[in-house]
């Protein structure tokens, strides 16, 4: 009987403790929510105060500019196909910047990830150094690197390409080293036992395991890089962004050109997005083995 009584005695305690815990948790999440709301509201007030135009006034003008652009584009709709055609070379330049930057960044990230993963690195002591290098590469805004390089090399696609490639190497290096950590080390040990060099161990033991993930992240990065390359064009690095800025600074009268560029950029991003997401699905979910 005494055995049965004991749990019954403890029960009110347990129940009270549980309720107290729940109350405390609710209080904490309520407080967190409150702090969040206050931060958002005051942050919004500060940003609104420091902005040139206020939110309330701007909100009503939001559609003015798109309306102007659409109106002018509609007026000159007959010339639209010719305009679109005219900007194809600029678009190709933007795509080339993104593609080459992704390619170079891919190889850079590959190398950086291998030398900064525990168990794979040829010089384990230097792992923190390579990690910090990747952190800095990721933290540097492309626009800054591009502008500095434009000062040295003159304007053109190369500064933008280098800027994006550096960032890509840092970003992919981090992702890839996370992938590498999940790689099975047995093939590497096997290769080591037959006297394979570091390069051979990586090429035959690690890369085949991680390649699908690498390619999938690389494709995602290519998507991101197209946007980045358009933005860098806007500050003078060539490509479609540069054309956009020219037509924007001209203002009313050239808005049909701006509209054409908007349409091209939008379509490109959507198409690449769709293609790469299909490819990525195939890569990560595996495809049936071809005969």
């Amino acid at each position: 009987m005494a055995d049965l009584a004991a749990p019954a005695d403890r029960e009110p305690d347990a129940r009270g403790a549980y309720l107290a815990l729940t109350r405390r948790r609710r209080l904490y999440s309520g407080l967190t929510l409150l702090i969040f709301v206050v931060l958002m509201a005051s942050g919004f007030a500060v940003a609104d105060g420091r902005n040139a135009g206020s939110f309330v006034d701007g909100w009503r003008n939001m559609l003015d500019f798109p309306a102007d652009v659409v109106a002018e584009a509609w007026e000159k709709r007959a010339e639209m196909p010719a305009l679109l055609w005219r900007y194809v070379p600029a678009l190709i330049e933007t795509l080339n910047i993104a593609a080459l930057a992704s390619l170079l960044g891919f190889f850079g990230g590959l190398g950086l990830s291998l030398v900064s993963t525990q168990g794979l690195a040829p010089f384990p002591r230097l792992i923190p150094v390579f990690r910090r290098i990747m952190d800095v590469l990721r933290a540097l805004p492309e626009i800054v690197v591009a502008l500095v390089l434009i000062f040295i090399m003159g304007s053109g696609p190369v500064p933008a390409m280098i800027a994006i490639a550096l960032h890509t190497a840092g970003a992919l290096g981090k992702l890839y080293s996370e992938v590498n950590e999940n790689a099975d080390l047995k093939p590497v040990e096997g290769l080591q036992s037959v006297g394979a060099s570091w390069g051979q161990r990586m090429a035959y033991g690690v890369i085949p395991q991680v390649a699908p993930n690498y390619l999938s992240y690389g494709l995602l990065r290519f998507e991101i890089n197209i946007r980045a390359s358009a933005i860098l064009g806007f500050v003078g690095a060539g490509g479609i962004g540069y054309e956009l800025r020219n037509s924007m600074t001209f203002g009313l009268g050239k808005f049909d050109e701006a509209a054409a560029i908007f349409v091209m950029l939008f379509l490109t991003i959507v198409v690449v997005d769709q293609l790469s997401s299909q490819l990525r699905n195939r890569l990560t979910q595996g495809r049936e083995i071809a005969p």
């Binding site: 948790r25 904490y28 999440s29 931060l39 958002m40 942050g43 919004f44 500060v46 940003a47 609104d48 420091r50 902005n51 040139a52 135009g53 206020s54 939110f55 701007g58 909100w59 003008n61 939001m62 003015d64 500019f65 798109p66 330049e93 080339n96 593609a99 080459l100 390619l103 952190d135 800095v136 990721r138 933290a139 540097l140 805004p141 492309e142 626009i143 800054v144 502008l147 500095v148 000062f151 040295i152 090399m153 003159g154 053109g156 190369v158 946007r227 358009a230 933005i231 806007f234 500050v235 962004g241 956009l244 908007f262 950029l265 939008f266 991003i269 959507v270 997005d273 071809a290 005969p291």
Partner: protein, 444 residues
């Protein structure tokens, strides 16, 4: 290929050979394609022409400026007046009593000691002499009528001297002397950023930290620490207060944009998720909204919004908000489609209303995933906010582009870059900690 076809060993062997041959073709084709692309880009980007356009002297100035500064000793050749100023700027001009001791003024001229025993003498009648310990004297004279004349035959000049009748430029590792018709200027280089802590008009200029902390009052009116802080914060060359505000604005843009987008995207995510919205058209509509928001690039949003709201942090925040609402909507709806129905059933079996079902059956399941995504975006948006700030004109992005465009204040550019990199790395670290806590589930 069916299993039946692979039954005989011969057929298996043939299949294996085919597969290996196919792989070999791919292994050769991929590098070949990459190589062909590189060759194409080499010409499309005009790399050979780049070598001609590249200005390596610009690179040298940039690197030197980023870690050192120079003091200009300038003589106006019309009035004969000599001024000493850091970087030749008005704000860095030394008052006569504070002039450094390597400049000795004498009647109508001055002797400027450079490093390694080099010396420049500003003589009377607009003459100047560069004394090189090994090469000897290089004398020069500027006049309105004849321009710049030098005291030896131009052919005998070393290659670090460039001379024409309009301009003489002597550059050595110890310093530099330039002379034109209107002015003569000697430079001496120093390590470090000039006037970073205090400007010349501050009583704390050129004092050691120990003097400021423990020494007697340098300014009678204020305690040293208070005064030093006020003078540092109000430094009108580096404008530390403005820079801090700009950095804060950038972080604010990222914060408002990211979390605002998350708040907007959460309800929309429910609308776009298959298991919460049975109505096909509604779901389809929400998804197309996300696609549109993402497809219209941040660049276009920035331009459209800055037309309506003008430059500033609010415009940047809204640009991030619009773009990320699309990304979050997609991610959130996918996460919501993967929730476990059992918990929701359990909650509804207790008689919960729909709102309670979401609050207790769904949100606890998806919250850690969603929050960790949001934090991840917050970190990367700190960097994007710099770029957007450069376009709309707000935050540190504006300051850094302005500093780069003037093409002379590279030490400020370096300062801003260091600040940005440190801030982004701090955000990375912070969001990493929070994400790990969320995934482990410590925070309720």
């Amino acid at each position: 290929m069916t299993d039946a076809a692979l039954e005989t060993p011969g057929a298996r062997h043939a299949a294996a050979v085919r597969r290996i041959a196919a792989k070999r073709r791919v292994a050769l084709a991929v590098p070949a394609a990459i190589l062909a692309y590189l060759v194409y880009v080499f010409f499309a980007f005009d790399i050979p022409g780049l070598a001609e356009r590249a200005r390596l002297d610009n690179a040298a100035t940039l690197v030197a400026d980023s870690y050192s500064h120079k003091v200009h000793v300038t003589r106006d050749n019309r009035s004969g007046e000599i001024t000493v100023a850091k970087e030749g700027e008005r704000k860095g001009t030394f008052p006569p009593e504070m002039e450094p001791d390597w400049i000795a003024r004498d009647d109508g001229g001055a002797r400027v000691a450079l490093e390694d025993g080099h010396e420049v003498i500003f003589g009377p009648d607009n003459t100047a002499v560069y004394l090189h310990p090994e090469v000897g004297r290089i004398e020069a004279r500027a006049s309105r009528a004849d321009g710049v004349e030098i005291g030896r035959a131009p052919e005998t000049l070393p290659d670090w001297v460039s001379y024409s009748s309009a301009r003489l430029d002597i550059r050595t590792d110890a310093g530099r002397l330039t002379m034109t018709r209107s002015r003569t200027e000697a430079y001496r280089y120093f390590f470090g950023w000039e006037l970073f802590w205090f400007t010349l008009d501050s009583p704390y200029y050129d004092r050691t930290p120990a003097e400021i902390l423990f020494g007697p009052r340098l300014d009678e009116a204020r305690p040293n620490l208070v005064g030093a802080w006020a003078d540092f914060w109000g430094n009108n060359v580096w404008r530390h207060a403005d820079v801090a505000w700009a950095m804060l604005e950038t972080i604010l843009m990222a914060f408002l944009g990211t979390f605002g987008a998350a708040v907007v995207a959460l309800p929309l995510g429910f609308v776009a998720a298959k298991n919460f919205t049975p109505l096909m058209t509604l779901r389809f509509g929400a998804r197309r909204v996300f696609d549109f928001l993402r497809g219209v690039d941040a660049l276009i949003w920035t331009i459209v919004l800055s037309r309506a709201f003008g430059p500033g942090p609010l415009t940047g925040a809204l640009a991030i908000l619009f773009t990320d609402t699309g990304s979050f909507g997609k991610i959130f709806s996918e996460a919501l489609e993967n929730v476990d129905d059992k918990q929701i059933e359990g909650v509804s079996s207790t008689g919960a209303r729909p709102v309670q079902r979401y609050r207790f059956g769904v949100i606890p399941q998806v919250m850690p995933v969603l929050l960790s995504q949001v934090l991840y975006f917050f970190e990367s948006n700190t960097r994007s906010a710099t770029v957007i700030g450069a376009i709309t004109g707000g935050g540190i992005g504006l300051l850094i582009t302005q500093a780069i465009i003037t093409q002379k204040d590279w030490e400020e550019v370096t300062y801003y870059i260091i600040l940005i990199v440190l801030t982004v790395m701090a955000m990375d670290w912070l969001s990493g900690i929070l994400r790990r806590r969320l995934i482990k589930g410590d925070a309720g």
